[in-house]
């Protein structure tokens, strides 16, 4: 396996091998999951197989995280640059882009041409949507880079889940405003994922549009000009979805509706668990402090990180947004989720359970230490939260 050499500050030479190097192909292959179900359905005639990827994603995946556990290993500082620049890792992110198209078209073809029961049809649409949600993750990794090709590929892959605004919204909006009450993509303590979705989905679109409109105005162009990067990606979405409609008929209307909503829901789930309740404080000039490692929830669970391009090492991602997935590092004493993302999503979808586990974990964080002035709280729940967890003046921890 390829390794990297470097010299430590003391003069000692080191040789580092990335044990996950070839395992990252899991992030490339995972979006092909609908075909496992399609193949088993074709082989056995049993439509229930079409739902297998849901079981894989939300039962097998969290179980594998639990069994395989966590990996806190970091590449040494001295090889980071070499590792970051190794084209192998970059090429994997390019390869997955066409697979997202293949996956959606393949699932739509099967749904449109087989006589399926209503539940298998909707199940397959859900599987396609969950898979396209992974496309947002691919677009996320690509969209953070400086090269033209990666930015272009980000816009292309985001056309699959119809989320072309994400690239702008996330890079220019979320990273700037993360863990503040102003950020529609940071969830607040006491805010259920369902309430969050109604704030996040429209809020993210509005913020992206405003940022892009402002940029175009500086160039004396209208927001509806074809230089609008949101419209560029959305046009491709339109071609893709109208194409599926023409190819496979009216059945594609419910199929694509379920697909799109489920794809967005994947991102909503990720956004929800990544910054729950965390708050950047303001300095004496009223400016938010710089985003710190303790402003993101993390997970080092091996399996879910391997299928998500290391997204769960989220603190390092926010500290260095352009850093490539293979080089993201673990730090001690970070806010840590009880499981990998897929398990955390399950918890998030049952709000009483989420609040029970996460409110306690949030308040116990060393930088919060049960001080509610250091928590991003849902305004509608503030009184109840203060009543339940608030300290009286002068009371110590």
């Amino acid at each position: 396996m390829k390794g990297y050499t470097a010299t430590l500050p003391g003069g000692e030479a080191i040789y580092y091998v990335d044990r996950k190097r070839y395992l990252w192909t899991l992030s490339v292959l995972y979006p092909l999951q609908p075909f496992i179900g399609i193949w088993l359905h074709a082989e056995t005639g049993n439509q229930a197989w079409l739902l297998l990827p849901i079981f894989l994603g939300y039962v097998v995946n969290p179980l594998l995280d639990w069994v395989l556990g966590e990996d806190e290993n970091n590449p040494p500082e001295e090889v980071l640059l070499k590792l970051d620049r190794d084209p192998f890792y970059r090429i994997l992110t390019y390869l997955v882009v066409p697979l997202h198209f293949v996956s959606l078209i393949g699932a739509a073809w099967w749904a449109g041409t087989q006589s399926l029961s209503w539940w298998a049809f909707l199940g397959l649409a859900a599987v396609a949507g969950i898979t396209s949600g992974l496309g947002i993750n691919t677009g996320h990794e690509l969209g953070h880079k400086k090269s033209k090709i990666e930015r272009r590929l980000a816009k292309i892959v985001l056309a699959v889940p119809v989320y072309g605004h994400f690239w702008i919204e996330h890079n220019r909006g979320h990273h700037r405003d993360v863990s503040t009450p102003e950020d529609p993509a940071s969830s607040r303590m006491g805010e259920s994922i369902y309430r969050f979705a109604t704030r996040e989905i429209p809020g993210a679109f509005k913020r992206a549009w405003a940022i892009e409109k402002e940029r175009l105005e500086r160039r004396d162009k209208s927001a509806w000009d074809m230089n609008n990067q949101i419209l560029q990606s959305m046009s491709l979405s339109l071609v893709l979805q109208v194409g599926l409609l023409l190819a496979f008929g009216w059945k594609m209307i419910p199929f694509l509706l379920v697909h799109n909503v489920l794809a967005w829901w994947q991102l909503t789930s990720a956004n929800y668990v990544e910054h729950y309740g965390l708050l950047r404080l303001k300095d004496d000039k009223g400016r938010y402090e710089r985003c710190q490692p303790h402003h993101s929830w993390n997970s080092n669970h091996v399996f879910s990180n391997l299928v998500l391009f290391h997204l769960e090492r989220h603190s390092d991602h926010h500290a260095h947004p352009l850093r490539r997935y293979q080089s993201l590092r673990h730090f001690d004493n970070l806010p840590t989720l009880p499981s990998g993302y897929f398990g955390a999503y399950l918890l998030a979808w049952i709000p009483p359970l989420w609040f029970r586990v996460m409110d306690k974990a949030l308040l116990a964080l060393p930088h919060v230490n049960h001080d509610l002035t250091r928590v991003n709280i849902e305004p509608a729940k503030r009184a109840a939260i203060v009543q339940k967890y608030g300290r009286r003046p002068g009371e110590s921890s």
Partner: protein, 53 residues
């Protein structure tokens, strides 16, 4: 004219060149950028954080 660099990601704002994509014409002084100017590449460093090259 001068150039200013983002200390996080290395994005360079060269006043001579401006930044066409972002809509800043060649010859735009760094001081004339909006007060809430965030690095166009990483968005986690702001106007005050930029370093003169």
């Amino acid at each position: 004219m001068s150039a200013y660099r983002c200390p996080e990601c290395g994005y360079l704002f060269d006043e001579d060149e401006g930044d066409e994509h972002e809509g800043y014409r060649p010859g735009t002084p760094f001081a004339k950028l909006p007060d809430d100017f965030a690095c166009p590449d990483c968005s986690v460093r702001f106007k005050d954080d930029f370093e003169k090259v």
